[in-house]
């Protein structure tokens, strides 16, 4: 069988992002990551939210589901629960995921379902023309804002930690090589993965531009840099409470570090929580071989094949 190449995941349709948008870097990384994992296009379902970022799945040769604003995670959850063989990737913006979809973001963390969520963080609402998103720092004034933002910002990594995501990472849209690796590690992780990607929006975010990230104003010292090699994100399956606390403590230090450089890499890889599929299989013995997507519901004649005898017996009165 021919090996899968990046081309297999590309589509020949025109792309309508603004020139120079960070979404391109994320898209290219996704193509490479999927091909590198040896997945076949039909085995992959990419779910997108609403926003510029939410269009990512239009440019991936796979099953592509463009959902509703903020709802990308529950759609992806339903599909993955029903068909655990699918590789499910959800993508969306910071507005999509941290504002209207924040409740879903938090609750997805409780499930540890085996899917990957990539958050495009450009600090603005791109598709509605540059309003502040929940990740824009208090007092910042990007160019569409009539006044500096008066509200504070959420820290996506911290929110993911508090919510129970078992794999948490951060990448930068134009560090394609680093991003490919992060996406692949996120997908390979058996459990719920959250990858924040810092993404320039050249059209609306004039503060954190590609040049800013590259540190053009400070003699070319980049403002994004990998986590220190000594940082160990792994919580082993049998880690004791003390070890877990130590890891989480280190996580918090890195995820809340002010100033520069902004760190990228794997912040957490928690192997101690069984993924939801395993837990479901214990509860529903048929889940592994006959998950909802494969439940046979009728016999050869098209009659219902559910035998309700035990249900009737339970409520029989005579």
């Amino acid at each position: 069988m021919a090996t899968v190449t990046v081309k297999d995941f590309q589509v020949g349709f025109p792309n309508d992002w603004c020139p120079g948008c960070g979404d391109f870097g994320i898209l290219n990384s996704l193509h490479q990551a999927l091909a590198g994992l040896g997945l076949k296009p039909h085995e992959v379902a990419v779910f997108g939210g609403i926003g510029c970022s939410g269009k990512t799945q239009y440019y991936v040769n796979a099953y592509d589901v463009h959902t509703l604003h903020g709802r990308v995670l529950p759609y992806a959850t339903g599909a993955k629960l029903a068909n655990p063989e699918l590789t499910v990737v959800a993508v969306g913006g910071d507005g999509d995921g941290m504002a209207i979809g924040a409740g879903h973001f938090v609750n997805a963390g409780r499930s540890n379902l085996d899917l990957t969520y990539i958050l495009h963080n450009n600090e603005v609402y791109g598709l509605t023309k540059g309003q502040a998103s929940p990740t824009l720092p208090m007092g910042s004034q990007t160019k569409s804002l009539p006044e500096p933002t008066i509200q504070g910002s959420v820290n996506p990594l911290m929110l993911a930690l508090a919510s129970g995501y078992t794999w948490i990472g951060r990448g930068y849209a134009f560090d394609v090589r680093g991003l490919v690796e992060l996406i692949q590690r996120a997908i390979r992780h058996k459990g719920l993965s959250f990858l924040e990607v810092l993404q320039p929006c050249p059209t609306y975010n004039n503060l954190h531009t590609k040049a800013w990230f590259a540190g053009k104003d400070q003699g070319g010292v980049p403002r994004v840099a990998p986590l220190d090699p000594s940082y160990d994100p792994v919580i082993e399956p049998d880690a004791g409470e003390g070890a877990v606390r130590a890891r989480l403590g280190a996580f918090v230090v890195e995820a809340t570090r002010g100033g520069e450089p902004i760190r990228t890499g794997v912040f957490l890889e928690n192997l101690s929580v069984p993924d939801l599929g395993e837990r479901l299989a214990q509860r529903l013995p048929a889940y592994r071989h006959a998950p909802p997507a494969h439940r046979v519901v009728a016999d050869a004649k098209g009659r219902s094949n559910a035998d309700l005898t035990p249900l009737f017996a339970e409520v029989a009165v005579s």
């Binding site: 039909h42 463009h66 339903g78 997507a293 009659r303 309700l308």
Partner: protein
């Protein structure tokens, strides 16, 4: 002295959490075990413990599905029950009350609402009686009700001494005692009551044994304290005992969903919908006819937005998928329903209507969501709306909904209401043999000419509006899905011609459904088919209407009932010939504005001559409906009759 009855209406009331439900369950099962038909209706506040709740159980020689306002036997556990229901006991009936509640001032009842206090005060003043429980009991006696005090305190003592029960378990067994006392009053076989106990408590054998002894104790008490032959009630038929189930409307839906192939159910807790999902989770695995095992994955979500969208995501993979909710949740779900509509996703949404709007009346019934079910969501898209009229239909419709959803690749909204959901009924085991499973047009991408790129023509326009559907994960079926208008590949487009084509494609499926769905699934005709007097209705009013048709027939009045089962697409073609001869046309609904009547006029041009409405949050009784029809027949009724009963 006792006259044989074949229809006894029994009511038990008390504070929520004190076991009114359990008592009604024992009584109902005890009667069902003797071969009687049983109907149960449950009323309760949105409260966990303490507020007034009551249960009506009708025991009959033939199937009925609706309560009576006039009850034959009232069992009160507390003073509040006495105050609220004493006037509802029919002449010739029995009122059993706690001796300690014999003289309490009505205005001392903390939870009694002002209108009911005023109503009772006026009622008693008119009869020169004091505004106390004593006044109410005296009124009952004067009306020919046998009033029997019992001392629950003494009975609790007896339970602890004679059965060696702890104080707490004696307290709990008062339920069984109250049931047994009532059964003794209607001269019912105590062994059957014990059977009811066993059926209710199942395999908890110690509990069953204790409660059986409590039955004997209660019967002995009744014989000792009262002249039972002087009590003019006796359950008077000895029917045969075929195999019957004792189920709620909610259980019927859940069983129907399992039979219909449900594989994935989502929910966010809300009254009165939650019971369905809880039942499903408790019965998530079951055998299949080929000796295998089937299962349902029940997924509790963070809100209704997630419930509807997760169910949709699952449906995309080919799983028969559903969610269940009530008004406030349905409001949130309309967002996701629109997405499923534009993407032609088969999805079943069971809506348990309750009093609205907003939080409304969480635990009371209403048929207030019909217009919302038919029109909810922005833009034009097809959806199918079904409404079940009784427990058997609830089962059949729940199963059938999936085949409609998959055949027409659309959302099916299955309307229930709280009254039907909480109805308890004896019924024959549901018939699964007639359920035909239609999985619709499933794509076979290999032979449908896919080339392995994201180019499957999922939304290609066709004459029927249907197009083959690949499941997520199927080799070669890749396409786009989007909430935006799209091309046949599912790509976003704003092209005017494509837009029109896609809108029309989707709407054509509705025309197909209107053509294909059999007439008897759209509406059913009962009573005298040629009678001009026509009652048109939908949902749970069916039982009251059918019983009223019989009462009218006894009076020599012929009438017919059109029950609408398919509310969207509206069955105008099938209705029109019936409407042409309907005179007068009477619409019966439990909402304030006649939502079905509005739809009827909008779709057929014919407005009903009379609306009979009830929107207090309680279902329509036999007597109330009969009274409304008498008013209509005598010419005394205006175009809008509102049914009121302050005592519910």
């Amino acid at each position: 002295m006792s006259t044989d009855r074949t229809d006894i209406a029994w009511r038990i009331g008390g504070p929520q959490g004190k076991g009114v439900d359990t008592a009604a369950g024992i009584f109902g099962r005890a009667c069902a075990a003797g071969g009687f038909h049983v109907f149960g209706r449950r009323e309760y506040y949105s409260n966990i413990m303490g507020r007034h709740s009551y249960f009506d159980v009708r025991v009959t020689g033939r199937p009925v599905g609706v309560h009576r306002d006039r009850v034959d036997l009232l069992v009160t556990f507390d003073t509040e029950t006495l105050v609220r229901h004493a006037v509802s006991v029919a002449p010739g009936g029995v009122l059993l009350h706690d001796a300690s509640a014999a003289d309490v001032a009505i205005d001392a009842m903390g939870f009694l609402d002002d209108p009911l206090q005023e109503e009772l005060a006026a009622y008693l003043a008119e009869r020169d009686l004091p505004p106390t429980t004593a006044g109410l009991l005296e009124d009952a006696r004067r009306r020919g009700v046998t009033v029997l005090p019992v001392s629950y305190g003494d009975l609790t003592e007896a339970l602890t001494h004679e059965l060696g029960a702890s104080r707490a378990s004696a307290d709990r067994m008062l339920n069984t005692v109250a049931v047994a006392l009532s059964a003794a009053l209607i001269k019912y076989d105590p062994d059957r009551v014990k059977r009811g106990v066993a059926l209710t408590f199942g395999d908890r054998s110690k509990l069953v044994e204790m409660n059986r002894q409590a039955v004997d104790l209660a019967y002995a008490h009744a014989r000792r304290s009262w002249d039972l032959d002087a009590v003019p009630l006796r359950l008077g038929v000895r029917p045969e005992r075929p195999r019957r189930l004792f189920v709620t409307g909610t259980q019927a839906v859940a069983m129907g969903k399992i039979a219909g192939g449900l594989a994935f159910q989502t929910y966010y807790p809300i009254s009165p919908a939650t019971d369905e999902s809880v039942y499903l989770e408790a019965h998530a695995t079951f055998p299949t006819t080929d000796g295998g095992q089937g299962s349902v994955l029940v997924w509790q979500t963070e809100d209704e937005l997630a419930a509807v969208t997760a169910a949709t995501g699952a449906a995309l993979t080919g799983a028969r998928s559903a969610t269940a909710t009530s008004g406030p949740g349905f409001s949130l779900m309309t967002e996701g329903i629109g997405w499923a509509g534009i993407n032609e996703v088969p999805l079943v949404v069971t809506v348990y209507q309750r009093g609205g709007p907003a939080t409304g009346l969480p635990t009371r019934t209403e048929q207030g969501d019909l217009q919302f079910a038919v029109h909810g969501g922005h833009g034009d898209f097809p959806r199918i709306v079904l409404a079940s009229g009784d427990v058997t239909e609830a089962f059949q419709d729940a199963a059938q909904a999936f085949s409609y959803a998959e055949r027409y690749q659309t959302v099916v909204i299955h309307l229930m209401d709280k009254a039907l959901a909480s109805t308890t009924l004896t019924t024959e085991p549901f018939d699964t043999s007639r359920l035909a499973i239609d999985r619709g047009l499933v794509a076979n991408p290999a032979s449908d000419g896919s080339n392995g790129t994201v180019s499957f023509p999922r939304f290609r326009p066709s004459e029927t509006g249907l197009s083959p559907r690949p499941y997520l994960g199927q080799p070669g079926g890749m396409h786009w899905l989007t909430g935006a208008e799209h091309t046949e590949l599912g790509r976003v487009t704003e092209d005017p011609i494509t837009r029109e084509q896609q809108v029309e494609k989707r709407l054509r499926k509705l025309q197909l459904a209107a053509r294909e769905i059999p007439a008897e699934e759209k509406l059913r005709l009962y009573g005298d088919a040629s009678a001009p007097l026509t009652l048109v209705s939908w949902g749970s009013n069916k039982a009251a209407i059918l019983e009223v048709l019989e009462r009218l027939a006894e009076e020599g009045v012929t009438a017919r009932h059109i029950q609408l089962r398919l509310l969207w697409p509206f069955p105008s073609a099938e209705l029109e010939p019936l409407l042409a001869t309907a005179r007068p046309l009477v619409a019966v609904e439990t909402n304030a504005t006649g939502q079905m009547a509005r739809l009827l006029r909008e779709q057929t041009g014919r407005a009903p001559d009379h609306l009979v409405l009830k929107y207090s949050g309680r279902p329509i009784s036999v007597e109330q409906l009969l009274d409304a029809l008498h008013q209509i027949l005598s010419g005394a009724a205006g175009p809008r009759l509102v049914i009121r009963n302050p005592y519910e």
